[in-house]
Assembly symmetry: C2
Homo-oligomer: 324 residues x 2
């Protein structure tokens, strides 16, 4: 066994990152304070070696991915992150060097996003690592944004570009050859370390009728939002912000299908009532976040169709990542 014991591990590596109410991680539970006028938002997303990341990915990137997939959920609901709990499943042949790298990643993101750890668990797994984070955020009372609240006529937006993470995964696996190495490198780093547009949280809280992040695939997740809100979207293919490296590819190219369905985007899809769109756009001017208008919600529940300008229908048989 090459790792320190659980007690030493917590004391040495995680206690310096402990939040108020966590007793420096020396107790079995923690107290969470919810300020007057706020509501607590909770989300739990786990990532596992061989599924969400490769066991030999740099350990700091694994840590950051585990944190950011959860921050992405919080911000897409309009919540400001507060603290998180970390259950870390380690297999016995991990080295202390690996652990130091992992903790570095945790510490860097705690610093970057003003976060701290309120508790958790380290445990042994037969195959790992497995990182299960439960993240807590705050919204003003009554301002939580679910995926269920869109209405017919609302305008649909997406942040950033679609498909970077999914293409990055294929770069990592060597199953895609992109004509531009710089793009390939940047997609790979996006796969390793998501960059959800956390600054959009207050815009979503103020203006969005429904919102969620894209984790399982652009089309599949749009269908989930459409089904949950009981409406549909007809999306012009040309309105989708795909990376420019795909510009000259045919619309049925494997790379485009991967971008539209592959997942790992951690960008936000959200709807805004038509009369509030101008104010919403004005409020995001200073944020330096790309926003693309995709469609106006129609009355066909759960329907998402993508059509090109010349009227062709884009058929995507595998709409989103399925876990099983």
């Amino acid at each position: 066994m090459s790792l320190p014991g659980e007690f030493e591990l917590i004391e040495r590596y995680f206690a310096p990152l402990a939040s108020e109410g966590s007793f420096s991680l020396r107790d079995d539970a923690a107290l969470l304070e919810v300020p007057e006028g706020k509501e607590l938002v909770v989300t739990q997303d786990a990532i596992a070696a061989g599924v969400h990341f490769f066991a030999d990915d740099p350990p700091d990137t694994i840590a950051k991915k585990a944190i950011r997939v959860n921050l992405s959920d919080l911000a897409s609901k309009g919540a400001t992150p507060l603290t998180f709990s970390l259950a870390l499943g380690l297999h016995s042949n991990l080295t202390e060097e690996w652990l130091v790298g992992f903790v570095d990643g945790i510490a860097e993101d705690c610093s970057k996003f003003s976060l701290s750890i309120c508790g958790g668990d380290t445990f042994k797994v037969a195959h790992g690592p497995v990182v299960s984070i439960t993240a807590f955020g705050l919204v003003d009372k009554g301002s939580y944004t679910s995926r269920l609240g869109a209405s017919v006529g609302d305008e649909l937006f997406v942040s950033g570009q679609v498909g970077l993470g999914a293409l990055g995964l294929r770069v990592r696996k060597g199953t895609v050859n992109l004509p531009d190495q710089a793009s390939a490198d940047s997609f790979l780093s996006r796969y390793l370390v998501p960059e959800p547009p956390l600054k959009l949280a207050s815009t979503i809280s103020d203006y969005a009728s429904a919102s969620m992040d894209i984790s399982d695939g652009f089309v599949g997740d749009l269908e989930k939002l459409a089904a949950a809100s009981g409406l549909g979207f007809d999306i012009p293919f040309e309105s989708i912000p795909l990376p420019s490296v795909l510009d000259n590819m045919p619309q049925d190219a494997m790379e485009i299908s991967v971008a539209l369905t592959g997942g790992d985007d951690y960008q936000f899809i959200f709807t805004v009532p038509a009369e509030r769109v101008d104010d919403m756009l004005a409020s995001t001017k200073a944020l330096d976040i790309q926003l693309s208008h995709l469609a106006t919600a129609n009355d066909r529940p759960g329907s998402v169709e993508i059509k090109t300008a010349d009227g062709r229908h884009i058929d995507l048989s595998n709409k989103s990542w399925r876990h099983f």
Copy 2:
């Protein structure tokens, strides 16, 4: 793949157990309401196949163990359980029959303990299952009981009997032969499904100066409480509530060492100021929970010594379960 997709899985099996504020588990996060005058307590404990349970254990017992190790943490802090979030890592050769058994276990304990699910995640793992639960409970403001608050002179108690789960594990592995098959069976079932004395929560909240549950071993966890509170305990061997099947064994028998250090007890160790002991005992009369007085806290920080009536010192080289 023999399991339904994630969406179907949640819709069919978990949504019926959803809590208020969870949008029937159809959103990416949940809202937690903390009533006026209460504080939110959070704990996260994960269990993994091959470490905390055997992959071929009955699936309902795996589910119950995952819930109860968390409820044990909450109740030992004086908290009343509220809801929990479930991250469930499944490998691809699990059957839907397994899943139905697992969900039955979740549903039974939700019913038994008036619990509901506020959210979570199902994900694929290369080796599993891995069950990571984050549980939420409530305490009256200011009444949370940590393991740090005991004072010299406080009286130390333990609930129930010590060693049942650890002996049950050895029965399961066939590494111990107990003279009484009925005891062996009951220890095994205790290993599979812990029975923490949840009814003690309000007593702990009202009377205890420090408290924690025993999960990693009686002696090791006592040392943790002693270290955290900056005091020590001299414990007469005869005061420890060991199961009667060990009565005629020598004090250095392997079975006794297993019981004192093996963990998986999910009983509570807690301290009470001397002047409040009578009231505490009176308040627990109706609960039908065995309580044993072990020691009076002394001024030797982190020291736990066990001595027999004839003055022999019980030496336990392996004081508690180490994860790594």
